[in-house]
């Protein structure tokens, strides 16, 4: 396990795949030398003083530093989520630490109150509807961006991110003000239509990535073998893109399911999405039942991620290969 990205880092990213790694002395020419000469090496002496290859009890210093840094930062990143799971099994209702026992009482309370179950069902309904809308729209848009040349194509590509760039609370209020004119606030239809908007950036991105990874020479082969455009699409292109579309669907589902800022504006009497119910309960101080609900949500999301990973590789799905 080589943990430090040292001089030979990137061997695993050997792009041409022939296994020889980057050529070590291939490029000692050109711009890099010029940059080195024209820049003053103010820090050079200080940097030289640090010995990166020093070993501490047989482990190189650089590696120790990296492991420590990664451990701290990743702990920080996942701490709130892990802690929510943790207190959902804790009998104390003060979120106390260390725990004074183990209980499933808070999970029992989810099942006992019809309120939480109803919210789960509501969230599932509008999330699925919003996902269907988002996928229908995003797949055609992504296909257009990936396959066709037209004016403003790059602008459209960049604009698919817009719903993520505007603060969600503002978008939520805007959608409430607009949709209530048509009676689309406080019901499932409004929630579905509104949340599809925030799902499209993720969906478009996943499908576009799948399209860029798709080898188009297969399509040409099908055409050369006599298939027409529709047949080629049905039997070649569509099956190849399907994992990308399913990944997009799962991401869209998760994003709409866990969205609070827009759902909180479009909720209504009897139509309380899960994040909104957590939000309103927390406003009254909350209880460990929220932790149990959060844990259920985390399990749902993790399951979805595992499915995506199996299907496609979640990292690849967002374009980070």
């Amino acid at each position: 396990m080589a943990l430090d990205p040292g001089p030979d880092a990137g061997v695993d990213r050997d792009a041409d795949g022939d296994g020889d790694g980057p050529a070590r002395d291939a490029r000692a020419d050109g711009g890099t030398v010029e940059v080195g000469r024209t820049r003053s090496f103010r820090l050079a002496s200080t940097l030289d003083a640090v010995d990166f290859d020093r070993s501490l009890a047989g482990v190189s210093l650089a590696r120790v530093v990296w492991i420590a840094l990664l451990a701290v930062v990743f702990t920080y990143l996942v701490l709130p989520v892990v802690f929510a799971v943790f207190i959902s099994f804790n009998p104390s209702d003060l979120y106390a630490f260390p725990p004074n026992g183990f209980t499933l009482r808070w999970y029992g309370e989810i099942l006992a109150g019809s309120q939480w179950i109803r919210s789960f069902l509501i969230s599932f309904q509008y999330s699925i509807a919003a996902t269907v809308i988002a996928i229908a729209l995003s797949s055609t848009a992504a296909y257009a961006i990936g396959r066709f040349d037209f004016r403003f194509k790059n602008a459209l590509d960049a604009a698919t991110f817009l719903p993520l760039m505007i603060p969600q609370v503002i978008l939520g209020l805007a959608l409430l003000l607009f949709l209530q004119n048509f009676g689309l606030d406080g019901n499932l239809a409004g929630l579905s239509l509104a949340l599809a908007v925030v799902a499209t950036p993720y969906a478009t991105r996943s499908i576009l990535t799948a399209m860029y990874n798709f080898d188009r020479s297969i399509e040409e082969a099908a055409m050369n073998l006599g298939a027409d455009e529709i047949q080629t699409f049905r039997h070649v292109t569509f099956p190849a893109l399907l994992p990308g579309v399913l990944t997009a669907a799962i991401f869209s589902f998760i994003v709409t399911y866990s969205n609070l800022q827009i759902a909180v504006f479009l909720q209504g009497a009897g139509v309380t999405p899960i994040p909104v119910l957590i939000f309103s309960q927390l406003n009254f101080g909350g209880s460990p039942v929220i932790a149990a609900v959060a844990t259920v949500n985390i399990v749902i999301v993790l399951l979805a991620i595992v499915i995506v990973e199996r299907l496609f590789g979640a990292a690849e799905a967002l374009g980070y290969t």
């Binding site: 880092a9 930062v73 989520v81 929510a84 040349d149 603060p167």
Partner: protein
Amino acid sequence: MSDESARGVPVGADAETDAGTGGVAGGLHERLRAFIQRHKRESYAGYILAGPYLLYMGVFFLVPVAYMFAVSFFQNIPNATMTPGFTLENYVKVFTTPLYTNTLYTTVEISVVSTLFTIVVSYPIAYFIVFSNWAYSKALVLLVIAPLLVGNVVRAFGWFALMGSSGALNTLLGVVGLRYTLLNTKPGLVIAISSVLMPFAILILMSVLYTIDEEIVEAAYNLGGNRLQTFVYVTLPLSAPGVVGATLISFVLTMGTFATAQFIGMPQVPMLAPFIYSVANTDLNWPLGAAMSFVLLGVSLLLVWLYTRVTSLQHESDGGAI
């Protein structure tokens, strides 16, 4: 278009080999195919496909935002109604109420600090995932994405429980003999917000780090640079666009923080988004909420513009060497 025309076979040539089996389905197939063949090379073909998406985004994204802009000039009538009109009193109210101006100031302050903190903490992670040859470094991407997908409320709740006066952090600090409750303080809010922003920042930084040509880094090593030198003089300058991009997105996202701000900051450290919510949803003063939204948006855009100005000036004074 270019790739369509690059095909060796003329489009019409395979017409008679079509497997369409007649009947209604066959007729549909023929008509659809004829439609595709007639339009696929036209410059508007992309618009036909992207049409539904564009229409939907127009109706459910652009129009609502534009409508809210109009509403921000409407007259509010207490108890849930408003009359169309043109008045600036909502904006005047935002800028003359000390509560709102102080909140705006705090929002900017928290956003700047959180953004800087986020970038500093996220960079090593992105760097490691991209450049390490550790077999499981790709799995770390999942670990980065997972908190993002779990949602803000759950994480806000986690921090809320951790930071409370009887929470785990206080217990741990108590062991060292410290008494300091992070809940409802600025450091606490920055810590909580940054953990929400980190996945976004890491993903953006990664996408830029991936584009760095490894041979340049290799060359730096071959020329005798040690790891830190190579990083400071080669990798870091090359990743500057990613740092700028991640900073912008983090900043814009923090300005609109809602759940975290509500539970970790309010009311001692107020931010604007919870106020927008309470003004619109509790007081039902929609015009004021709309005006506050556009003030928030305007201030964000102004600062983003200033930042891009400053970074582009800096780039020019570097002579664009990198």
